[in-house]
């Protein structure tokens, strides 16, 4: 280019001009971009709303033979701006393990997050998506099961002799360890 023939200070000025053009232009464009990026990243600081213990069912509603039954978990829920006082936030399987003892599982398959069904004839839980199978006590039924861990057991408390309170949680799917989603 003919720039080569220009005196040196003119070349330097040319560089300064180019640099400031790029920097100033980038600065102008950076401001809206950054504002957008911040809003885009907002979900990272949102925590899942823990509901604590929730009254799910009464002891009488569970069969004596230890077969599980499915119950909805009703609790308050916040969806971004909407506050809902009492809505289903998930479901659990409850089964009696003693006169005053209950075992609770989150119905979500730890493999990929589908809802598992209980097959009465096979006395086991079966996932309709990738055919993971779980025994009555929630453990993996056969070694070919795609699920990395057994069904997620939840903390249960019996209050006032008959109320079943469950500490409802969801856990990360696809992981051998049981990590709560926060």
């Amino acid at each position: 280019m003919h720039e080569n023939t220009l005196p040196e200070n003119s070349v330097r000025r040319g560089f300064l001009k180019k640099a400031s053009a790029v920097v100033l232009g980038a600065l102008a464009g950076l401001i809206p971009g950054l504002a957008g990026l911040f809003v885009f990243l907002d979900p990272l600081r949102r925590k899942s709303h823990e509901s604590g213990s929730v009254l799910v069912a009464s002891l009488n509603s569970l069969p004596e033979d230890g077969m599980p039954r499915k119950f909805s978990v009703i609790a308050s829920h916040t969806d971004a701006w909407t506050r809902m006082p009492e809505v289903p936030i998930g479901a659990v399987y409850l089964r009696r393990t003693g006169e005053k003892a209950v075992q609770a599982f989150n119905v979500v398959c730890p493999h990929a997050g589908c809802f598992v069904d209980f097959k009465t004839d096979q006395k086991s839980y079966h996932c309709p998506c990738h055919h993971s199978a779980f025994a009555l006590d929630g453990l993996i039924k056969d070694s070919k099961s795609p699920s990395p861990r057994g069904l997620d057991e939840l903390k249960v408390e019996i209050r006032n002799n008959s109320e079943i309170w469950v500490e409802f949680r969801n856990f990360q799917a696809g992981n051998a360890a049981k990590i709560p989603i926060s």
């Binding site: 180019k18 053009a21 232009g25 600065l27 102008a28 504002a35 809003v39 885009f40 909407t82 809902m84």
Partner: protein
Amino acid sequence: MRVFLDWLDQRTGYRGIVRSSLYENIPGGARWRYVWGSTLTFTLSVQFITGLFLWMSYSPSSQTAWESVFYIQYQMWGGWLLRGIHHYTASLMTVLLVLHLMQVVIDGAYKAPREINFWFGLGLLQLVLGLSLTGYLLPWDQKGFWATRVATNIAAIVPVVGPAIQKLVVGGADYGHHTLTRFFALHAGALPAAVIALLVWHIILFRRHGITAKVPKRKPDGYFWPDQVLMDSVACLAVMATVLFLILRPWIFGAGGDLGAELGAPADPSETYSAARPEWYFLFLFEFLKYFPGGTEIWGAIVIPSLIMGIIFLMPLLGRWRLGHRFNVGLLFSLLAGVGLLTYLATAQDKRDPAYQAAVAEAEQNAHRVKALAQSPSGIPISGAVTLLRNDPLTQGPKLFAKNCASCHRYDGHDGTGGQPKDEQVASDLHGFASRPWLSGLLDPQRISSKHYFGGTKFKDGKMVKFVNKDVAKYSAEQKEQLKKVIAALSFDAQLRSQHELELRQPEIIKEGKRLLVSEEMRCTECHRFHKDGDDPTGPDLTGYGSREWLIEFISNSAHERFYGERNDRMPAFGTKQMLDRPAISLLADWLRGDWYESKEKAELAKSPKPL
């Protein structure tokens, strides 16, 4: 690297593209007057970027649009900044469009062979105005909602097809979900796509014909890069700085208030909104319409603006003659002067109009209130934020009072909303009803016969007034102390929030007051009942006096035997006669009792009022 770039160049020819776009010849060198087109391209990109990010958090339906914008503005990281940039850049774009148009017309850049590019530019202008119009509705607040109703009603006056056009734009006969989805599809889909298409052609044609150099040329010819790019960069940065200034204005001047774009109260078709105005750059059209009497609006709204656009469209053809060019420049300046004048008239008139000012104040109050409610622990219900205001005693109470009660009663001397009713006061002032100060006034011989209490009613000659004037007037200092306790006990039954803390500290006084209230020496229970069945009371039952339940029942039917019975004065049975429904009466009762949600800081502030 070199090898890779060569490889790339052979396949894409990128070097040629970069060279031709950077080393475009500028006759007479770079000049500031050429920056407008670049700033417009820049602002459009800003709108695309910010719009895309806003889109990720926006939810177009009549129960979620306002709510999602509220969430962006007040709950999300930097949401106020993002929305502020989008809003104020839109405003600045209108200004830049006008500057660009002026530069093009004054410099004669529309003349042959650039006519078609001029028309593309006019198309872009229309599209950008369309973007403004559709974007104004999307927050679904009162301002956007009512302004859009006006705009779409104008569409309906087009002969024959008008109503159909309106229905298509609105997405039905009523404004709702489909109005939002349609406006949003236009705003974020159809119009931007059209803008991009036209802009690409606009720039291609601009490159084809080159810049229209301003003569005389001051300098030798130059290149676009870096001289003109530097000027463009500085101009774009100045635009962004202006946008930031507009967003941060309240903070810079320490005026307080929210940063960024305004968000009014949620759209409510059942609430009148007299503060409806279009965005400032459409104010001239709004003002223009005022000069067209009923039946001729079509001239002001459609015919004349279209004719003017038509003339502008013909500018390149008129500009072929010397006189034509002068006419074009003259026309442009007269149009701008006209727009300026109409905008001035619109704002000046609003400034002088107390009704409009009151409407704006009310709109601001409602906006402020609904945001406080939305941030309260109970939050926004599924039915949307609009119900927050509808069910808010602080918002609805004053209006209900002004409409139903203020023809006889007063509230702190006014009609509840701060106005003065035209009817004379003939019944008590209910501000602080059932509170200790209110009851002290009622039992004060100096005041019971005043208009503030029974002065305007038929009870001014009744037993209560006689009792206060004869007995209470002669009370000894000790009896006066006892009366204070009785008042405290009676007022305790109202369970007023304003007295709650005081009452917690004075259980003994209240207990003693209760004993005195039913004692023979105070004589209250000669006519009234108080937590006990008496025989044939003649005055209102004092059990639960001023409580929510008591007040609701009283407003429903004050002539019920529990209250005044057949001695009732003119007070209508609002509930029994179905003049007001139960929720309305409850709102009224809650408001009179001062029972509404207050944010924590505000409650703290009220507890420890600062000395004046």
